[in-house]
Symmetry: C2
Subunit: 222 residues, 2 copies
């Protein structure tokens, strides 16, 4: 079992760098979110809609992590993102603090209100790597099955907010809204929950209000 | 970069064990499939329907890998699976050959026609770990976005068959069937493709025919 000590070592190296990042975000009064989910749950779509709705009101920095391609970063630029940086992990299943550290000098940090870090689409690996963020936000879509919080508990335990996306497709599968909430709260009693559809825009106001509210409060780290 | 040599070492240890598994499957004339996908693409649903349709005709062994919970294994037993074993990875993002090795003695190998290994729901990590299977089968659902073969190329490159699931939900998102096929073939010119819906059962016959055809041909390893 050679993997475990090394993983421990890497995680603590990562934790040191994440602590530096966290200090940097706090000094610059940046609210930072680490967006995690399965592939295709709608992280990029959520950010596209957020840029369209709040792009004039908030200075947003966006980091788009992907195993391969810069497609997501290009979508965010297309959607009006002015400060967007891709990170291509070349096969790695998650972002880590060192990768964030490397792109951070390209941002004008003292201008940012919020930094969105869109992680690799993966419900396992990204849960173990602190990126210095204020909060993790986990997305789950109604087409993925309502058992996911139980099957990938670390991710839901470490997230402050669960966004249930694609509620326009409710009723077209066995996905049960009450059940997914029950499962999420079973894993994490304090998790906040917002239901929305990036496609039809139903519920998007709740997300915008949550986000602007947190920034207004200077929450949680400042 | 301490991670790379260790990963190389682990992979080659894994390759040795996978080669042993492959020999064992061949000796016993078992057609073995490693099912991979994002969380919630329908691997378990596909196997449930396969058990219902072919359970009387084929002796099926099923290994259900999960980060946490034995839910999938229980679903497969419920669906009539007589030889089902769960593997709970306790946080690991993929199955490896050693885990398969450990549960294999619980199967009556000389009776099996086919062994399905349902991997952890993850489009990254499982691509790097050979489990001795004859083929990888990758599932993608129409709600995940048609860009996934480009964004997770290793998985699609190493799969022999791509099953496009949830075709009953086509038209309810931007997912384009031609585009996903084009992207998959761009990564892997030889990939076979089947479209179906586990829910409405449209297209299931193509999958059953593909599977029974491969077993009849003694394909590919025997």
């Amino acid at each position: 079992m050679a993997q475990i000590p090394l993983k421990g070592k890497l995680t603590s190296e990562n934790d040191l760098l994440a602590a530096e990042l966290r200090d940097e975000f706090r000094e610059n009064k940046i609210f930072s979110l680490n967006l995690v989910s399965s592939p295709g749950s709608g992280k990029t779509s959520l950010l596209e809609k957020t840029l369209a709705a709040l792009g004039d009101k908030l200075e947003m920095g966006l980091i788009a992590g992907d195993v391969q391609t810069e497609n997501d970063a290009n979508r965010l630029i297309q959607a009006g993102g002015k400060m967007v940086r891709p990170i291509v992990t070349n096969g790695a299943c998650h972002l880590d603090a060192k990768m964030i550290m490397r792109v951070l000098p390209e941002f004008n940090l003292n201008r940012l209100d919020v930094l969105f870090i869109e992680n690799v689409g993966n419900l396992v690996c990204p849960s173990s790597f602190d990126l210095g963020e204020d909060m993790k936000v986990v997305l789950i879509s109604t087409t993925e099955g309502d058992d996911k919080p139980l099957k990938y508990p670390a991710m839901f335990r470490r997230s402050s907010l669960m966004i249930i996306n694609k509620i326009d497709l409710l009723g077209l599968s066995d996905f049960d809204l009450d059940r997914v909430k029950k499962h999420a709260r079973q894993i994490n009693a304090n998790i906040e929950i917002i239901e929305l559809s990036c496609r039809t825009e139903v519920g998007m106001e709740s997300w915008f209000n949550w986000l602007t509210g947190k920034i207004r409060e200077g929450c949680p780290s400042r």
